[in-house]
Symmetry: C2
Amino acid sequence: MNILLTNDDGIYAPGIEALHRALKDMGRVSVVAPDSQRSAVGHAITLSDPIKSVAIQRDGRPFGHATSGTPADCVKLAVCALLDHKPDLVISGINLGPNAGIAAIYSGTVSAATEGAILGLQSVAISIDTFTDPIWETPARVMQKLIPVLQKHPLPRDTVLNVNVPNLPYDQLKGFAATRMARSRYVEKFDKRADPRGNIYFWMDGDMEFTGERDHTDLDMLAKGYVSMTPIGFDLTRHELVDTVAGWKVSL
Amino acid sequence: MNILLTNDDGIYAPGIEALHRALKDMGRVSVVAPDSQRSAVGHAITLSDPIKSVAIQRDGRPFGHATSGTPADCVKLAVCALLDHKPDLVISGINLGPNAGIAAIYSGTVSAATEGAILGLQSVAISIDTFTDPIWETPARVMQKLIPVLQKHPLPRDTVLNVNVPNLPYDQLKGFAATRMARSRYVEKFDKRADPRGNIYFWMDGDMEFTGERDHTDLDMLAKGYVSMTPIGFDLTRHELVDTVAGWKVSL
């Protein structure tokens, strides 16, 4: 099995290294990832600049390609230019921090997996539900567990499996839950400051709040100690509203 | 009516200026937009850097705020920090180039409007179907036409109207069509080059191809001379597949 690993925390991040260590004996593992942190880049791609790519080592051994592009760029570049084989599975992560609820739409990690699905590949995003003291071994073992499941039950086309893992020792996990993305939003707080020359700038900060039903969502099950698995897609159309819009009968 | 304008081509782009000119007598128009081009940034937000904001003028008159953030940042910042009133309508555009089919997921223009919807505001993205010689007056008039329609038929929550306009004189438009986002992808071509020091870099390029049904999609109706109006959302869940994933019965 050919596995392509990428992430948005950068090729030197511990999450992708943990994933690489866990999966390297399960197939031929390639790594193409950003050369530094690209969190919250959403589904950005690089059209106005060239994308640089260099081979890098970790622990004195070839590890993968570091690129100047975004996570989505990395998947495109890997599949269309860098690899001499087509990946059977694209895995993006392990992201430091959850990508559940509305966070998924800001996430470079999720977007990289989405790009894999756009290219017609089986794709998974995996994130750990903490920003501090991550137990990387848990999501790494979760991924080892999920690979044979995905081989047995391939995802339908245009689908990404968005996996979020509680920051618990593996044997304290409650189980795996099929979930939906929680309807939620960030309540932004902007901290307004002036630089030494009097110019105004802002720091963005915020907390997530639920704006819809909580039960059985990714955020809910994650908080309860379950690995959440949400099948996500990239057709943004709200199909149920197309007829409503047609009913407006707008004329020139 | 309070209208917030933003875009991803930057505050000095002709598209946002055309929109401003067309709408300034229809309400109180505020502009908060990136200080330079931010195309294809997707739903990026700026967490690791401060966001600068400066008041700018056009033609010797106050025009709006230019920020160092992404289009999504601009909407958050405008609503949560810069404006002293809540917008009744967020309009993102006029984007130079179509945001139809899969292009919508890469688009900063669409993401800015999506951010408006996340914040609970009526939101529209508007784009012109050309990269050269745009007839800005056409989408500007389309937007003038749509504002009273949206006042009469407010969009349901969590919904953005993604509008694409053919690059034709207004009186040559065929009409308005309610559409869905075309299932499509870019077929990437990476042009591999070496810099004068021998370092490898790539330029990304590609053409869009349909990967699903063509009829009545945004790309289809746009090509036929209609203004396409696609209701889009940001719940990425493929709800019809949650039970399938549950059926995998993954155990620890």
